[in-house]
Symmetry: D2
Subunit: 232 residues, 4 copies
């Protein structure tokens, strides 16, 4: 799975600038002139905004990512509505035979019920069943797909055979607030007030997105962590 | 495919009530007391709001539908962000072996390119290829799915084998404005200012939703038609 | 200030119905047939959804309120974007001379700074200053407004003189999730994880809305309370 | 009134990049490498997307503006919900005595009714009434405001006296699609399919925003014009 930074205009300064308009009025001119100044005060303000759930200052900017992941991951991701998506279309192009197989360290077995379950490693036999079954299904699906296309059938019909394990690609754009909400729900931490249980595959994407985000907005990201990973 | 009315509180009167607050102030008391009165004036007002793109009066109310359709239809539907969704989860339950096959009257062949294409009927041979290929792929996929489940593999992993042609189910809730936007983009008419080219399968769902909507809000639906099916 | 129930289709059952589609598939038929059954199980499910931040099941339905409040309250309320608004228009009609004056029990004096302040009662002299000053300003504003209207000036220009303390009216429609977010941010409680500091006037409106909501969805409201008034 | 560009990452290329993922898959690497290439093809694609209402490619990027305008303008602007706002707060700071007066070329008289009205110049007498009335009301309001503040009354109460003609300031962030929707509804043109009737003051702000937008995304702006100023 791939998550790449394509474009952005994020900065911790943009949060401070937007928030200070409440109390100071116009703030962007001085901010443009004095980079690096008042950093402690800015860090304190960002922590305060996060704790007090003043979310709007975290919306001024956008991050565009390029993502390659299986359709079952995109199905979950695209339920986040405060975001913009453009995805490869199986109506407009023929999809490539690129399919998801779990890595050897993917826990395969679910123990417990909804609300209180965990995943544990599978045996070598179980891993073999997964690989064998998925490869068989993927090959049969793609063969059927190509047979239909060869017979002149429209792509939008032939695609019905394709599995949700096939890779797709998309551009997704979010603002920092929407991204933190995504990270909060799509990563699992035990030591937070609100524990999420995302599927491991979308969590792997979320982790890559978080690394990019933390690099671009280190102060905001640290405040998000300190706030128990609750989005403002 | 199934589209059923589950719950709603839609009415043409709600549009008029909301719009009249602009010019009259409180309007709901008199409206509750005088059903059926001033119908011509109401019809005129609704047509005016639609033409002038005063969209907000069409947002006060909600319609909940139960939908059964293949995943490739849900993938398109759920890109509409002014709506609420809850869908059957292949993480939480085992999906049933219910798959989409095109009806005999489904046009199978795409002629022309993006922006200027149409669909034409396939030959009997082509229909046979579609049916045969899809059934083969579906059977292989479901067999692989069951083999993995039988081996104790987590549902969320085993589902990767399942095709986007498998049926899922969801509850979707929209307000009238969001629904009209959905209908505008997901139905095809030649004689309108903005021509949409939806896939036939989601259009079939949209047609069922439109019938329900037209029954609940006949004046609004007629105004939508007269406005070239552009949502306000 | 006035907050009246105008229309709704809210119910705790709608939450359960939407949530169960994840694990059971179609649920609305049985629900329509067995009212009152399985209430404990439903209460448990709603509490679970709230704690786990499964917010989407709380979106299927809408509540329309009629509100009369000063413009400074509407300015705050309308910043909530997951909601639908239609408001009396000072472009289309002449506003009535109805203005906000604080009640005698409104705390008038702010002590402390942003992030750690509270309000305390004013003296009788302070209350007299407020009443006298506001009445003087309101009268001057409305006199200027009427003078301009009498001279044939367009309403949209004349209204510039009117104070944000003048009453306006609107219809607002929210779903239960959006409403809980509104209540969480616009009411003040000391004993919750996230303490909000709303202006008292919008809180008075929020309290009226909450009473209506609690009557319509008692199980959801109780779960919201038990969850520290954090919206799912 | 002031509308200034604060920050942005808009470009016509971003639209093309997002749209091409539908048919080509990953597109940003080649785009980063070949600026200026294929410009005619890009212009054609952007026009096609606009006409066909493929709106999502116009969402990848954000524009932040700093705006100073009277509260009655902000009241209209902030009804646009696909946008992010942070505004100067009269709860947190004392507002300055800066008020809106119409320029001499502002048409003062409304002729005709809702749906078919226009504005015409006022007489010299009418302009004098407007100026005199507004100044009188503004002075009375600000005097009452300062009297209350001097008596120790909380800012959030004292502000009730302030008129909607007082200037406020905000940062607003929109994506190109949201911005085009704003421009479509808040500017008046006679020769388009959907004629809007915005108040002149918000239109003046919209015109400034449009000039900025046209400079940053000239191809998209030209396509918006050619499409009758209907947002995609």
């Amino acid at each position: 799975m791939t998550v790449q930074l394509v474009d952005h205009n994020l900065s911790d300064k943009a949060v401070v600038r937007a928030a200070r308009v409440s109390t100071v009025g116009q703030t962007h001119k001085s901010f443009l002139g004095k980079p690096g100044e008042d950093e402690d005060r800015d860090t304190g303000l960002i922590g305060y905004l996060m704790r007090e759930r003043h979310g709007s200052p975290f919306e001024h900017g956008s991050l565009t990512l390029y993502v390659e992941a299986p359709i079952f991951v995109f199905r979950e991701w695209q339920r986040h509505r405060i975001a913009s998506y453009n995805e490869e279309s199986a109506r407009y192009r023929e999809l490539r035979p690129s399919f998801y197989l779990p890595a050897v360290d993917r826990n395969l077995v679910q123990v417990g019920k909804a609300g209180a379950y965990r995943f544990e490693p599978g045996t070598a036999e179980q891993l073999a069943v997964v690989d064998g079954s998925l490869v068989t299904a993927y090959e049969a699906a793609y063969e059927a797909y190509e047979r239909m296309l060869a017979a002149g059938i429209a792509r939008e019909i032939a695609r019905a055979a394709l599995p949700v394990g096939i890779y797709s690609s998309m551009y997704v754009t979010m603002n920092p607030r929407g991204l933190m909400n995504f990270l909060s729900l799509r990563t699992h931490r035990e030591d937070v007030a609100f524990v999420s249980h995302p599927q491991r595959e979308i969590e792997m994407c979320a982790e890559k997105a978080e690394t990019i985000f933390a690099g671009l907005m280190p102060v905001t990201h640290a405040a998000f962590e300190q706030n128990g990973r609750v989005a403002p």
